[in-house]
């Protein structure tokens, strides 16, 4: 019969229409500004800088190596090295960034800066409500705006952050053990030198 297909289609539409009022899995609308869907764990939006401890500027993990600046495909990162060094989480003196700017109007959220960073210093944020009335200055984030604590990182990406923390703790323990062993070895050599000065190699003529 001509028109049978159209009637079948209309019946399907009617079924869907009624279903959209009854079926709980179909009622997916969320009243956005009041209610929000929690961000997925792997979600990424724009990068931020991780710091340890309480003082954001002292605890920044970034050592201004500029790898992310070079690798960033749209070139949205801008770094100037500082002349003053600061200790990192292992107590080693490291270069720090005098300026670290990310232009989030250029950033395309590709996460390559995160992948290339050898110091676990830059990570992806899930914050997306970043609109600003100033489209140049307001979207150019400096290192004070970018710095977020390790606890915040733990909160938004728990699995990844735990893995990073364990690795850093292991590295730190290893470095400390090595430093201790080195110190012991040095002390031993010094003690040996004191005990038998004649065994030390003769000075060059």
């Amino acid at each position: 019969m001509l028109g049978e297909g159209i009637i079948k289609g209309m019946a399907e539409t009617a079924r869907n229409f009624v279903g959209s009022y009854h079926d709980p899995e179909r009622m997916t609308t969320v009243q956005y500004p009041e209610d929000k869907i929690a961000a997925k764990e792997n979600a990424r939006n724009f990068p931020f800088l991780v710091f340890d401890g309480d003082d954001a500027m002292k605890g920044l993990r970034c050592v201004a190596c500029q790898i992310c600046e070079k690798e960033c495909p749209p070139k949205c990162i801008y770094i100037i090295k500082d002349t003053v060094k600061k200790p990192d989480y292992m107590g080693k003196m490291q270069v720090q960034a005098k300026r670290f700017d990310i232009d989030i109007s250029v950033c395309m959220s590709c996460q390559i800066c995160v992948e290339v960073c050898p110091f676990e210093a830059i990570k992806m944020d899930t914050e997306f409500e970043l609109s600003s009335t100033d489209r140049f200055g307001g979207l150019l984030l400096d290192k004070h705006q970018l710095a977020k604590s390790n606890e915040y990182y733990q909160k938004i990406h728990p699995t990844e952050a735990t893995e990073v923390d364990t690795r850093l703790a292991e590295e730190k323990a290893k470095a400390e053990a090595k430093a201790k062993a080195d110190a012991e070895a040095k002390a031993k050599v010094a003690a040996a030198k004191l005990a038998s000065p004649s065994q030390s190699p003769p000075p060059k003529a």
């Binding site: 001509l2 028109g3 049978e4 297909g5 159209i6 079948k8 289609g9 019946a11 399907e12 539409t13 869907n16 997925k40 764990e41 792997n42 979600a43 990424r44 790898i67 690798e71 960033c72 495909p73 395309m108 959220s109 590709c110 996460q111 390559i112 992948e115 290339v116 050898p118 992806m124 699995t159």
Partner: protein, 403 residues
Amino acid sequence: MSDAIIEPEVKEPETQVVSPPEGAGEVNYTILPKPDSSGELLEVAMGPQHPSTHGVFRMDVVLDGERIVKLKPVFGYLHRNHEKIAENTTYLGSMPYTDRLDYLCSMTNNWGYALSVEKLAGLQPPERAEYLRIITAELTRLVNHTCLVGFLLQDMGALGTPLMYAFRQRELILDLFESLSGSRMMCNYMRFGGCRVDLPAGWLEQAKKVTNDFPRFFDEFEKLLSENEILVARTQGVGVLTADLAINAGITGPMLRASGVNYDIRKVDKYGIYERFNFRVPLGDHGDVFDRYMIRVLEMRESLKILGDALRDIPAGPIMDPKAKIRGFRPKAGEAYGRIEGPKGELGFYLISDGSPNPYRYRVRPPSLINLTLLEDMCLGLTVADAVIILGSVDIVLGEVDR
């Protein structure tokens, strides 16, 4: 001393003279004389802001009454210099740009590019990564084809309803992509020698649920429209593409198979681990718009079969080749062409390396662009309304056509 209030001088705001844009108020068609002087031909520019052209694409059509006597596709409005940018950035740096080629299927674009770089650098992804690639690529095929059938039906005048049904299904898959790669559409998931992140907890179960529920969508869709008399009348025998012409023009993908040519790179080239999966290649026999529509629906069912097997068999293990390097990646000098069966056709990436961190030459073989070349041959003698659905059945994404 006077207490007269000095009124502030009120300045008249300077009226800005705005000159009208060039061509404003003029007619946007040309009237041409007919060769046999029996009337006039009308040349109309359809696009670039026409809703049926799926983006910024223009068809310059010459009409005799309502029949098309000449059609010239004009594109390049979305040209973003993709290939030249890729030649000036590192190999890894152009991976996120490939997402933006065909923005509906970023996973397959990633795979095509990763495949050619792996050929160049001699990397071999581990087993689990190969399974992940197949799963994400087949999910992408589902995304693309659901979008296509929705848009095609919208072009035919079924406004809204089928497209929204299709988008409802697509959203479930995009949720999977988001929880896997962090982004719904710009996934940027694959890397040279593997994949970027492993599956999050509970992802496989969610994916299995989505794929198991997917056939319900087909049944619903078939009831909704596939028997619809208007759809059949509008599509059968419209825009016929013969197998000879399709082969000679280099058409690939579902368009070629709708003309009855059995050519699927998943079967021919056996890239990845596709030879382990048992699936059929659906073929059409008329090469008209209806066949192209049905081929996509059938291909989705085959994709589901592959997905079912892959989600069941995925092994545990590493997801990156240990030889792969993220920083300082420099493949040795040489050239490579990697191709995959994208949802739209053969998607190839041709690379020449001179041993530096960025490719010497980078070239994309976009299926959309090459499938578009036969638009005039399919549209001649038909009406403007037919040209719209023929363009819809070609399945173009302008990000890939213009690059």
